[in-house]
């Protein structure tokens, strides 16, 4: 589905990723964990082509997208839920969802919208409310719903648990599990290592721009190094 081969990414002269290789197979949930500043978000942004990888290759569904335009990448069956939710706060919930289906026909939008409301009944209740007035958890649901509107094969989530209450986090992760049931591939980037690895088929540990460990989610959870560094011993 998504393959990164020896990707190096630079911000100006500073190299943020020193040759990262990651593979996400179809139908999997893959988690990427790492501390602050490890390069998690950079890795995601490189997939989106903003900034582009300075060397190495990014392959999405068999197609090399390393040097594609961000706008083209985001229209090719992949959707991202950006860090910090970033819903359009002045727009209503429904309008936010419609923006997610910007390049789809009205009939498709209607169908995806119903589907999103099924996944998140809460959003249906708040259909005409302005997104900025909702709670963090609701906004996160909306951000995920908006990403699903374009009917992606793969969804990338950047820190979906950021700043949310534990109960809401649980809900969000349940939904992510549900997405896998629907055949959507999930690439999850998290600081909340315990939850992320619990859910994931496989996991990667990123440290200062390098992949330090790579294993199944379960094995990583039991790995003493991971436990020490990310799970609080």
């Amino acid at each position: 589905m998504l393959v990164l081969e020896d990707v190096h990414t630079h911000y100006g002269k500073i190299e943020a990723l020193h040759g990262v290789s990651v593979q996400v197979n179809k139908g999997e949930i893959v988690s990427l964990i790492g501390a602050n500043g490890a390069g998690k978000t950079t890795l995601l942004m490189t997939v989106c082509g903003n900034p582009r990888a300075s060397s190495g290759r990014v392959i999405l569904q068999g197609k090399d997208i390393t040097n594609d335009l961000t706008s083209n990448i985001m229209r090719s069956g992949i959707a991202i839920v950006p860090e910090g939710r970033r819903v359009f706060s002045g727009l209503t919930v429904e309008e936010n969802l419609h923006m997610g289906g910007f390049f789809n026909t009205k009939a498709e939008i209607r169908k995806s919208q119903e589907h999103v409301y099924e996944l998140f009944p809460r959003l249906k209740e708040r259909e005409h409310q302005r997104a900025g007035t909702m709670s963090g958890g609701e906004q996160q649901m909306l951000a995920i719903g908006r990403a699903l509107m374009s009917r992606p094969n793969m969804i990338i989530l950047d820190e979906p648990s950021l700043g949310l209450a534990p109960l809401v986090i649980k809900q969000i992760f349940e939904i992510i599990g549900q997405l896998r049931e629907e055949g959507i591939t999930v690439f999850l980037v998290e600081q909340n290592a315990h939850q992320a690895l619990n859910l994931a088929d496989r996991g990667y540990v990123l440290e200062t721009g390098r992949i330090r460990l790579h294993d199944t989610g379960k094995n990583l959870l039991e790995n003493p190094d991971v436990q020490n560094a990310y799970l609080g011993g």
Partner: protein
């Protein structure tokens, strides 16, 4: 608290004195060949001290006064009224618009020549403000050099008619397209800029255009401007007393009526009206099209918009280009109305006024912007008697307006796109 306010008030009063006394309190009087310094008359001195006292009192009771101002919105009986449901609002709006349009159509036949002339100017400002509304109000790109596109439109007509004898009707689309091209060209360097930085670059662009026009003396006539710009014709009929161009006929002879200077003014007004209506309708349509929603998405959150596959380049450039296009329209009409243009008509103050109209009316709201354009153009004319204090009143009105109603006269309300239920 009180002691601090007192200290602050005293300080402000002293600063007022320090600033105003040397400026207003002394006069230079020439006696023969020498210049002498004289104290001003008592009236001015009393005025200066009175001003200091006013500043002192205002600062002393600042919290009470500003608190009172803050309560002003509550005095508005409509403040806490729930917003009208969409269907009703749309109905009210369309009725109001129709009435305004009918009124505007009959205006030239009931009003004086000067009033019609002023109304033409209002329409030009409406076009400009609607165009800038796309850039600032919808796409959220703060453009301080919008007047440059207005200048491009006006100068392209003036130059085309001077060098190639091209008439108003051909120059109109050319002027608008040229302005749009300039908008596109400006769009490229500012793609990556946002907020303050964007404002500074556009400000610079506006100045570049004006200074170029001022200095390319052999092409544009520099500060002397270009005169003798022809009036528009109606199917080859001219509105002057005598026909200037061969092959044309004159309006009053064709219809067998007596010549009147008003015909031309009314005709120009009607052209401006039609163009303003076209501008409003086109932009209204664009707002409901995907491109309109893309502008708003970009304004709300650039990163989110990009994450949905919107191209920042395309969205920003389209906003700049379309905004500039309508400024070109307005510029062509302006050149034709004035018959003479010079760089002086396109100074930064114009940009500021157009921006003020957009902010005053409510960013993104067409009705609001139209109302504000009318207010901002007509009020200074009504206040001609205090012409010295015009800008003072304008500024004070602006401050009060922003305290009282920061969202503008008629803030924007989006039209919901309702999907029809299936079946």
């Amino acid at each position: 608290m009180a002691a601090q306010n007192f200290k602050h008030a005293l300080f402000s009063a002293v600063v007022t004195l320090i600033i105003s006394y040397p400026i207003l309190g002394f006069n230079l009087v020439s006696e023969g060949i020498s210049v002498q310094l004289e104290g001003a008359d008592t009236f001015t001195l009393v005025g200066v001290f009175a001003a200091a006292v006013v500043v002192f009192l205002f600062q002393l009771f600042r919290d009470t006064i500003m608190g009172g101002l803050g309560k002003l919105p509550a005095l508005n009986p409509m403040a806490n009224r729930p917003p009208m449901p969409q269907r009703k609002r749309l109905k009210v709006e369309s009725v109001l618009l129709t009435l305004m349009l009918i009124g505007a159509l009959f205006w030239p036949f009931i009003a004086s020549r000067g009033a019609v002339d002023l109304a033409t100017l209002v329409l030009i400002y409406i076009m400009l403000a609607l165009g800038l509304n796309v850039v600032v109000g919808l796409a959220g790109l703060l453009d301080l050099g919008y007047v440059a596109f207005y200048a491009v439109g006006a100068y392209s007509f003036a130059l085309l008619s001077q060098y190639f004898g091209i008439s108003f009707w051909f120059a109109l689309p050319i002027g608008a397209l040229l302005a749009a091209l300039f908008g596109l060209v400006l769009g490229f360097p500012v793609l990556r800029l946002r907020g303050d930085y964007l404002a500074i670059v556009t400000l610079g662009f506006g100045e570049i255009i004006r200074i170029l026009l001022n200095n390319m003396t052999n092409l544009t006539g520099g500060p002397n401007g270009i005169g003798g710009i022809p009036d528009p014709t109606l199917f080859g009929m001219e509105f002057g007393r005598r026909v200037k161009e061969e092959g044309n006929t004159s309006f009053h002879e064709t219809f067998g009526i007596a010549y009147a200077g008003e015909h031309k003014v009314i005709f120009l007004y009607l052209i401006a009206l039609v163009l303003a209506v076209i501008t409003a309708l086109v932009i209204r349509r664009l707002m409901r099209m995907p491109v309109g929603r893309a502008w708003e998405a970009l304004r709300e959150d650039e990163i989110a918009a990009k994450s949905l596959g919107l191209s920042r380049t395309a969205v920003k450039l389209s906003a700049f280009t379309i905004g500039a296009f309508f400024a070109g329209f307005a510029g062509t009409v302006f050149a034709s109305k004035q018959g003479f243009i010079s760089p002086e008509s396109f100074v930064f103050l114009e940009s500021a006024i157009i921006l003020a109209i957009v902010v005053l009316g409510g960013m993104g709201s067409q009705m609001g912007v139209i109302l504000a354009a009318i207010a901002v153009t007509i009020l200074p004319e009504l206040a001609r008697e205090f012409s010295e204090y015009r800008m003072l009143i304008f500024g004070a009105a602006m401050v009060l307006m922003m305290v009282w109603r920061p969202q503008g006269l008629l803030p924007m309300r989006r039209i919901h796109i309702e999907l029809k239920p299936q079946g």
